[in-house]
């Protein structure tokens, strides 16, 4: 009888939300310059509402556009002023603090080249780095890594990391060897997943709906409109905010500690789900605010986990597209176009909102519904890859983001 087992049991099952995927080598060129840069890409799946994250409070059309859902400086929960024009969602005090310390920046009205509104295709474009959705088996981050000259191999203690096969997020899939590290806890199903399932059960299987409602403590969800207005009945929903928040922070904090080690990996990515806020978006004190708060906690956890290495760190938070400028009939937002990219880290030249602001009136909205994209997300990513980890211009324009010759790397993002 032969019995052979490899490293880990449950961890291996968890290659996904909150799992870190990182290059197995250290970047030689950057090291040769006497730097030791860390780059962490955080993918938010589901399409983040950029306007609810960083609101154009100085835009004369803003308050009218979002009505009582508009984040305002003098709202019930006042937004945090970034400059005279933009304000940050108050659920993100850590990002605000970093912004003031010039260690965080916002790129606004940014989007990938994708202009349709399918999550699956949008995520493909976001992660593949190609201009269009379609069959691809590698992601831009991996192709960027493949062009870097490796120095030493990153440490891969079996209990912490292991080489992975093809089952990785697209953004890090490819020929460059990637390690993964997974937090020991289960990633909870998000509230959003629970709500969608509940909605499906209500329409098709009352018995399952009843169980789900009871168990989730969500029995009081208003019936009208299906997914309307989550009433948590005074108690947190299991799989809900507290759990998500704890999980975000734990996953990213541990990933950061891993990357902070002298021989730990340097360049990696992780993903968080749950941003598809079609109904009861709750930008102010609701569901989106909870999620942003969890993201904020995760950024703080990276800062803490990195320790000394924070000063050489950049985090880039990106999402597949934005959401409609208007609030829809169920107090949420539908799939849109431009959004924000959030950048943070000690190596960042922060304290800025970088944007060619398109405006949000009926004339300037894209297809009369979405924030118009005025910055190509690839420019941001190319800037970071070039100036922070030293990927060559040539590679960026050809293999990393094929067909992006006309998209110039954004200069001056690094301190």
């Amino acid at each position: 009888m032969t019995c052979s087992f490899h490293a880990s049991s449950r961890r291996e099952l968890l290659l996904g939300s909150g799992a870190l995927f990182a290059w197995a080598y250290l970047p030689k060129r950057a090291l040769a310059e006497g730097r030791d840069p860390r780059l962490l890409v955080v993918v938010l799946r589901g399409a983040l509402d950029g306007l609810a994250t960083v609101a154009p409070v100085g835009d004369p059309d803003w308050a009218r556009l979002r009505g009582d859902k508009a984040l305002l400086l003098d709202g019930a929960l006042p937004a945090l002023a970034l400059n005279s024009f933009f304000a940050l969602n108050p659920a993100m005090p850590n990002l605000y603090r970093l912004y003031q310390a010039k260690q965080a920046a916002v790129v606004h009205a940014v989007a990938t080249p994708y202009r349709e509104r399918s999550h699956f295709d949008g995520q493909d474009v976001l992660e593949s780095g190609l201009a269009k959705p379609g069959a691809t088996d590698s992601g831009w981050l991996n192709r960027a890594l493949a062009t870097l000259e490796p120095a030493g191999r990153a440490e891969a203690k079996p209990q912490n990391a292991f080489a992975v096969g093809p089952v990785t997020p697209l953004v890090v899939r490819g020929t460059a060897p990637v390690l993964s590290w997974t937090p020991p806890k289960l990633p909870p199903a998000t509230d959003d997943t629970v709500m969608r399932l509940l909605d499906l059960y209500r329409h098709t299987d009352p018995a399952l709906a009843r169980v789900m409602e009871e168990r989730m403590g969500l029995a009081a969800i208003a019936r009208a409109g299906g997914m309307d207005q989550p009433m948590k009945n005074g108690q947190p929903a299991p799989g809900g905010t507290a759990r998500v928040r704890a999980y975000f922070a734990e996953a990213t904090g541990a990933a950061a500690k891993f990357m902070a080690r002298p021989d730990g990996p340097r360049i990696g990515a992780l993903a968080f789900d749950g941003w598809d806020t079609h109904a009861a978006e709750g930008a102010s004190g609701g569901r989106l605010a909870d999620l942003l708060g969890a993201l904020d906690g995760a950024i703080a956890a990276v800062e803490t986990g990195m320790g000394e290495a924070w000063k050489e760190t950049i985090i880039a938070v990106i999402t597949e597209f934005g959401r409609t400028a208007h609030i829809n009939g169920t107090d949420g937002t539908d799939h849109g176009t431009a959004t924000v990219a959030l950048l943070a880290g000690g190596a960042l030249k922060g304290g800025r909102v970088i944007t060619d602001w398109p405006g949000v009136n009926e004339v300037t909205l894209y297809e009369k519904r979405d924030l118009k994209a005025t910055t190509d997300l690839r420019a941001v990513l190319k800037g970071l890859l070039r100036d922070h980890v030293r990927v060559s211009d040539k590679a960026l324009a050809s293999s990393v983001f094929p067909g992006s010759q006309d998209v110039q790397p954004m200069a001056g993002l690094t301190a």
Binding site: M1, T2, C3, F5, H6, S9, R10, E12, L13, L14, L15, G16, S17, A19, R45, G46, A47, H119, F120, Q123, P166, V167, T168, P169, L170, L186, P187, P188, A189, T190, D192, T193, V194, R196, L197, D199, L200, Y201, H203, T204, D205, A207, L208, V211, M212, R215, M216, P238, G239, D273, G274, W275, D276
Partner: protein
Amino acid sequence: MALDPKTFAATALHRFGFGPRAGSIASVAADPRGALLAELDRPGAGRIANSDLLTTGEAARAAFDFRQERKAARLAVRSEREATQQAIKKAADDAKASSKADMAQAEIKQGDGTPTEAMQPAPAKVNPGPGIPQLIYLEEAKARFDSALNAEIGLIDRLTWFWSNHFCVSADKGQVRPICGAYEREAIRANVLGKFSDMLLVVESHPAMLLYLDNAGSIGPNSIAGQRRGKGINENLAREIMELHTLGVQSGYSQEDVTNFANVITGWTFRPLRQDPQHGGEFFFNERMHEPGAQSVLGRSYGEGGYEQGRAVLLMLACHPATAKHVSTKLVRHFIADNPPPALVDRMTKKFLDSGGDLKEVTKTLVSARESWDAPRSKLKRPAEWIVSSMRASGMMISDVRRVINTLNLLGEPLWRPSAPKGFSDESADWLDGLTQRLDIANEIAHRIGGMTDPEAVADDALGPLASTETRQTIARAESRQQALALLLMSPEFQRR
């Protein structure tokens, strides 16, 4: 049949198999019922071809040797530690003696020389890893799940799981763990298409069952061993054979029948492992433990005949009308409906009795029956069935079976570890509570592989026309492929069959 061919095919695959893999629906759509019947007729059906798997005897002996070695190692460590402590104590005593001598010379010394914890380095605790019984258990588990994952449809594996649960044992009891997998292969799987009486005989004489239901140590009070040691019978197995394995509860047997039957099967045990390195752990009728004399069971007298006496009672029970009805009801409840249609149960009962308990014929009756196809898809899949069908739908394979085992622990259906001899429930209501745990697992599976899949294609492959408009919309509108796959695996059409 009102069902269109693909609906018919998808229903067949979920209800009688482990759910579709990519392409399954199309490949059986021409004749789903025929495909099920053909699986029953395939040569070698139900065997697990894996020469690495141990027989019951081999497994029991390997586990026994392992336990002996561990015990010897423990004893060696203990005696070494005791020797060391002796030596230290002696050194300390010597030191005390000399310090007294020193004190006599008016010299004060710090410390009294008594050995402290810190002075004795505790032996480093090395995790020895899973022992042989657990390794065998895992190997058997892997073979079982691989068989279900790789089956074309999986009816035979479903039957194996059904009968294994009907005749359940528990790995948590005594020395059952290393042999519960071999038990399922040798006693259950090998007989799911044979005669019920054959299965019953192998099951009730299998060491796993004899250990699990305490018959291995049951001694007839008037037997040689009983007379010498003053010990007696244990009724557990006899009662459960009647109540759970054959006749069913409240089918007319009395306490006296149970006691007498327990006397009949005294001596049904296995060869002692310590004394028999060749055949230890294999079934053995021990005449010296057997209660002598005739016994009356269900109004019929069974004359003394050693092992044959027990065999005769089991054959009688195997062909009893109450048994036929009991197992037919359970089969229908498992495969078709929580409340089995009486007409179908009656036809299967009749087939059972007419065919002398031919389980292949009974299964064919089940698969061919109109009721088996007309019943609404209301049964909630049991956790293990749902996990396997989820893996088949999403194309996952097992690289470490412990993950599957951990998942089943979470979902309340731990492998070969039911909490009682009744086995795991086959009624949907009992599994509803685990729905939220299923969501956690679905979420986990989806994050593992969801990014690689096309959820709408998986929905086509796994549900085909069974997928409701609502479910398809929910999948299409999901915020990510991962979420879409989780929602698909949690959809009512995928949870139920």
